[in-house]
């Protein structure tokens, strides 16, 4: 078989990231397809080498085909491009139970834009808890520079239970603990135990994001290294 076909199939299988046994079968099927296509093109008078490249071109890019061949919803789906889908999904866009990406949607979502039950990111929108630059949790707790939620904690906080340094527009019918009231609320924690509890809760929230960020980045880096090891040109 031509080296170009061999290399193309290697790349498809690399991106498909299936079990060894499945990969062998997929590869055999795709190889059969590409051989027939090449033979068909050659029979139509296309020079052999051009026929090989024509067959590959018509088949689609290795990444598109390979990613298409991944399991529908894997335990772990890490992608360098496109949308990752899995129990743990990591990619430019990610959809999963735990999702990590520039745009992440999941039960636990981490990303520049994160949407989930618990969301962490530059813009975090969550049902239960959001933590980020702009943090919105209409039904839950929001922690961020600007936080809006049933419980909101931030520089600018707005909501049912809002604690913030400056909350000029948060003082409305439902914001019971904004502005000066917020400071009064903090006085409840003046005891030693109260202060420790407050610091612990706050620190946990703020630590969770960088820790998860580190873990996810590490997994993502491993995927890049796996691809780079197989073919450095693929990650250039």
């Amino acid at each position: 078989m031509s080296r170009a076909l061999q290399k193309y199939l290697d790349q498809v299988i690399l991106y498909a990231n299936r079990k060894e046994k499945e990969s062998v079968k997929i590869r055999a099927e795709l190889e059969d397809h590409l051989r027939q296509k090449t033979a068909d093109l050659a029979a139509r008078g296309v020079p052999r080498e051009d026929a090989v490249f024509g067959a590959i071109e018509d088949h689609g890019t290795a990444r598109t085909v390979g990613y298409g061949l991944r399991k529908g919803f894997a335990l772990l789906d890490v992608r360098t491009e496109g949308t990752a889908r899995g129990f743990v999904a990591i990619g430019p866009r990610a959809v999963g139970i735990i999702a990590f990406g520039n745009v992440a949607v999941g039960l636990f979502a981490f990303g520049n834009i994160a949407l989930g039950a618990l969301a962490f990111g530059a813009l975090a929108i969550a049902g239960l808890l959001s933590l980020g630059g702009i943090s919105l949790a209409p039904l839950g707790a929001a922690v961020g520079l600007a936080a809006v939620g049933q419980g909101a904690f931030g520089m600018i906080a707005c909501g049912g239970l809002a604690v913030g340094l400056q909350v000029p527009w948060a003082i409305d019918g439902v914001s019971l603990l904004s502005g000066e009231n917020g400071l009064q609320f903090l006085q409840h924690f003046q005891t030693h135990e109260g202060t420790v509890a407050l610091v612990a809760i706050t620190a946990w929230l703020f630590l969770m994001f960088p820790i998860m960020n580190g873990v996810m980045c590490s997994i993502k880096r491993n995927e890049y290294l796996r691809i780079k090891k197989a073919d450095p040109k693929l990650v250039e």
């Binding site: 997929i26 055999a28 018509d58 689609g60 598109t64 085909v65 298409g68 061949l69």
Partner: protein, 124 residues
């Protein structure tokens, strides 16, 4: 020639493959060829993209697959429609006919929808 966009095709490729397999067992390359011939070049499927669809149909148990020795002496995977697939195809066909009829009534007759030359579209 105008080609159908990926968005338009998404969700319908499964039905198209089921329709091809209705006429008998077939394998990947032959399915692609048959699809392109029947569609007279309008679909222009990215050939490798049918395999994820075939595997999905297999997982859904709409088709079954079996490796057999081909005429070139190599093992080849043949797909065939099974009863659940026949039912799904019948349902999809009915729904498509209803949608097609409704679209035709709203947008005009098929003649008015013929592709305009020199417009480039996406393929899948």
């Amino acid at each position: 020639m105008t080609r159908l966009s990926k968005q338009t095709l998404d969700g319908n490729v499964e039905t198209l493959i089921l329709a091809v397999l209705e006429s008998g067992p077939s394998y990947g390359y032959a399915i692609v060829k048959e699809l392109n011939e029947r569609a007279e070049g309008i679909l222009q499927l990215g050939e490798g993209t049918i395999y994820p669809v075939l595997y999905r149909l297999e997982e859904k148990k709409l088709i079954a697959a079996r490796w057999r020795l081909a005429e070139n002496g190599r093992q080849r995977k043949y797909y065939r429609l099974i009863s659940k697939g026949h039912k799904a195809l019948a349902t999809n066909r009915r729904q498509w006919q209803m949608l097609s009829a409704a679209m035709g009534k709203v947008l005009g007759s098929a003649e008015n929808l013929l592709p305009q030359p020199q417009v480039k579209g996406a393929t899948i």
